[in-house]
Subunit: 313 residues, 3 copies
């Protein structure tokens, strides 16, 4: 019984940790602590509760169809649901219909992940957070045509999105943008949460913490150099996808070495342009890219299946 | 000679029956009867003639490249053409250029189906009605930039599609929406045609008739609960994709049992949200989703390849 | 040393030749000559220099990860970069940030090509020019949200694109549209460049020259018949994708014979509608289709894997 409880708890927190590829309940616990801190700081406590509910719902959905599984215990059924749980209360009004939709969507992501992974298996990549991205996009689009889902925090749909470029680039501000780039992985706009996340990563993998920090910094530099949308930069919205790309390419799917580091930098830089490009694609819908740019960039840099480690180390 | 005629006639009607997965010339005949009834009732007789021409053209296209085939006789070369034949005269002006485009597009769907099925074969799914959806989308998009194809019945492109929510939910009206949800599979807006289709399905498969009826009802309930576009609801536009999902998942690709029934209900519910989401995606183009939501939902629920039957019956 | 120089030079020009599937340094040289002529004629010399820089950058990118390769020498690492090099200076302002982006994007296309080809290998098709299309789309989208990339020559984003249909169809004008349809493969708007390209093709393959000429003529006829956008027709913008489809289907992936000729004509006609359709899709973004319609059409007609030659010759 006690043992069963331990397994359940560690399954749950692994699910949150796997959002950044870490199979560690302690990392998951610290992630959730950071989410709670940030969501209460931003007066959106429902985001943190959504993360917990979404993780539980999507993990449960896996066990409903496949009673026994290592995937479940490793947290691989939880991470898409965790992100659905952060995204729904961030963009939609806090109503009971939203919670029903959140739970249903979180459950579907686990099944969709199985399907997408089946499709991608021959090329040795997987669906990453794309089940979350794909299903949440569909529900946010649906919120545009369903009065039962109220898209209170989505932008107004518009054709082009002109802006004047002005950004506070003092050192202190840059540090805040850099940390927010990390916190935004869970859609949290708080530099303190960014510190939580860095510590949480370091608990499980120093390399993951290093690449999260490095990728957010590189992305910030490129975004400023090419004068991307300053409002997005200051909220860390050019950081979260590169952070995930950095952890994925830099130390999850390749072993760290000089060649893979150069490859990861190229992937991180590409993620910034893909982020800017996808921002323009979703503007007429007033939608958000979610972690789509990370998925696209990581697929692009993993699909060639270059054997970078063998040739070096 | 007589035998050849019988084969030709049954090939033709099988093609219409396969739109709802039924390989039965009688079902196809009753479908076409329903289409004729509804299209004359709506003062668009060209839709019914289009269905006949499209079925013939796409079936012929298959024989041009592969002279002998069981696929052809089973009606699998006809159903995409049947739908092209319904869609073109529904949305485009009745000109001779429209008929040339209809015939060409119907022919191409048969070849495209072969290609798409080749692509999807490793995952044991197929392209369903997606060749029709994909090619018809391209031609309807093209109608926006070609004066030779006049998009008389497409909506005005607009960024968002705000609406006030008001729907007559008397029992009689709900029955009509429910039946129109079934008739709209062939783009027909007539509750009498819906009855034709239910009878036609029952002739070949009681389960297919059951799931068509159940799926249209479930979809209607979810669409009303989440207050989807009332104009669409009252024309059955939230029903036709779930109807196809229901027949496909509930009794075509899985054998009916309690577990697959629950799975089918989840797929039908998902189809409603996918319908609402895809409506929002095509709004800036003034386009229509066709049966795209059915294809997406059915792929999502078939790709995981869960063995639901084995574990139960 | 001298031998090494020859290999380098022939690798470079093969890269330009492969844009139209010709592995011949002489064809590549004549292509580049035509590009220089046309780009200076249009007062956009940076387009020609971009083509040279892009070809070099993308070829180099291949050697950085895979030191030895027949693909590289055959020019298969160069052609996507050549097109990136033509496209960036055509649509973006001539700044140093544009050149950095051009070089980075050209390099990425070579890696992306490897990944896309891995994905498509099971179905015996490849990615054609899609790595160029996909990455350039992302960067042109990004230019909408990055002040560092100035989209000076992209259209204004708008919802629909109404136009009055009026076109000079004198014989002389038709010949010019026809030749520009060929020159636009490299985004050059010059009928003289079209002649350069026909000669360059004939040097390597008479069939390629024939299908380029035939496809541009057929496409012109269909575009006029269906009254497609006259401004696009007169600049050859309905020709370049069909030209590539014609060369690909007519004499690269199928051996020329009567059956494959009919198949190629169907593919070329389809490309015109796909071009018109994709034009409508990108209008709200003020974007351009690049050679996307060619890729889509050629996939659609190659994926069925019909054995057209065996049954005839």
């Amino acid at each position: 019984m006690n043992n069963k409880l331990t397994t359940t708890v560690s399954t749950f927190f692994n699910g949150i940790g796997q959002v950044m590829f870490q199979q560690s309940p302690w990392t998951g616990l610290l992630f959730l602590a950071g989410i709670f801190w940030g969501s209460y700081e931003c007066h959106l406590p429902q985001v943190a509760w959504g993360a917990a509910v979404g993780t539980a719902a999507s993990t449960l959905a896996g066990y409903l169809v496949t009673p026994k599984s290592g995937d479940g215990r490793a947290g691989l059924w939880g991470f898409n649901g965790a992100l659905v749980g952060c995204a729904f209360p961030t963009f939609l009004a806090n109503t009971w219909l939203m919670w029903i939709a959140l739970i249903f969507c979180a459950m579907v992501t686990t099944w969709v992940r199985q399907g997408f992974n089946n499709v991608m298996a021959p090329w040795k990549v997987n669906s990453y957070t794309f089940p979350f991205v794909f299903m949440t996009w569909l529900f946010l689009f649906a919120a545009r045509t369903m009065h039962g889902l109220d898209a209170v925090a989505l932008s107004t749909p518009e054709l082009a999105d002109p802006f004047t470029w002005s950004l506070d680039t003092s050192f202190g501000s840059l540090v805040i943008y850099w940390l927010k780039g990390i916190s935004q992985v869970f859609l949290i706009n708080s530099w303190i949460t960014g510190i939580f996340f860095l510590v949480a990563l370091a608990v499980c993998s120093r390399w993951a913490a290093f690449w999260a920090a490095a990728a957010s910094a590189i992305a910030l530099g490129i975004a400023i150099m090419f004068k991307a949308d300053p409002a997005d930069i200051s909220q860390g919205l050019f950081g979260f996808s590169p952070v995930l790309t950095g952890i994925a390419v830099g130390c999850t799917f390749y072993k760290p070495c000089l060649r893979t580091a150069l490859w990861t930098i190229a992937a991180v830089v590409a993620t910034v342009f893909i982020q800017a490009g996808m921002d323009a694609i979703v503007t007429p819908y007033g939608l958000t890219t979610l972690t789509g740019p990370f998925c696209v960039a990581t697929w692009l840099f993993m699909l060639p299946q270059y054997k970078l480690n063998k040739q070096v180390s």
